[in-house]
């Protein structure tokens, strides 16, 4: 990301924004599938029952907490790689 002019920075930035949007949509649809798969398997009713609603909200909450924690470990690892990169790269 170094050595980009201001105009290039802007172009890069706008691409990143589009990409982030796409990432978010992907994450959203993944999470829907995952929580649906994990929580919903009773089709005797048409709308979500209390148990399913609860499960889905715990599923989302837990996913968020989990990705936050993984994000922390990931950042630590990235920072460490910056300090002493592995040999042969």
């Amino acid at each position: 990301m170094d050595g980009l002019t201001a105009a290039e920075q802007r172009e890069f930035q706008s691409r990143m924004e589009r990409k982030q949007m796409k990432e978010f949509m992907g994450m959203f649809s993944n999470l829907v599938s995952h929580c649906f798969d994990s929580c919903i398997d009773d089709f005797t009713t048409k709308s979500l029952i209390a148990r399913e609603t609860g499960c889905v909200s715990r599923c989302v909450k837990k996913f968020m907490a989990g990705s936050e924690r993984i994000g922390q470990r990931f950042q630590e690892q990235q920072a460490q790689m910056m300090q002493n990169p592995p040999p042969g790269r």
């Binding site: 798969d37 715990r58 837990k62 907490a65 993984i70």
Partner: protein, 97 residues
């Protein structure tokens, strides 16, 4: 693009942006893979609580550490493999296919 063949040709704007983008993609991809792998292995699918419990948290930390280790290991192994091939194959660029 250099007319005189002196020095390295300056990368164009498009190339520079593409390179930065590729780097970003690599990092994003790595994070997504890590997340998929470790959530799958550490978070059981029955959602009786919305919080990460102690065991799950520790599992995630260790899973991430191991994921990075494996990444390093695989890259070492691939490099070793390529080197061995290069040595026994009589070097690069000679002998054709």
């Amino acid at each position: 693009m250099s007319m005189f063949g002196l020095g390295r040709p300056q990368p164009s704007s498009a190339e520079k942006i593409a390179a930065a983008e590729q780097e970003m993609d690599l990092v994003t991809d790595m994070f997504n893979k890590l997340q998929q792998a470790c959530l799958k292995k550490c978070i059981p699918r029955e959602y009786r609580e919305g919080e990460i419990n102690k065991g799950e948290g520790v599992c995630i930390d260790r899973c991430a550490a191991k994921f990075f280790d494996v990444q390093l290991k695989v890259s070492e192994l691939l490099q070793a493999e390529a080197q061995a091939k290069g040595a026994s194959g009589g070097g690069f660029g000679i002998g054709g296919m």
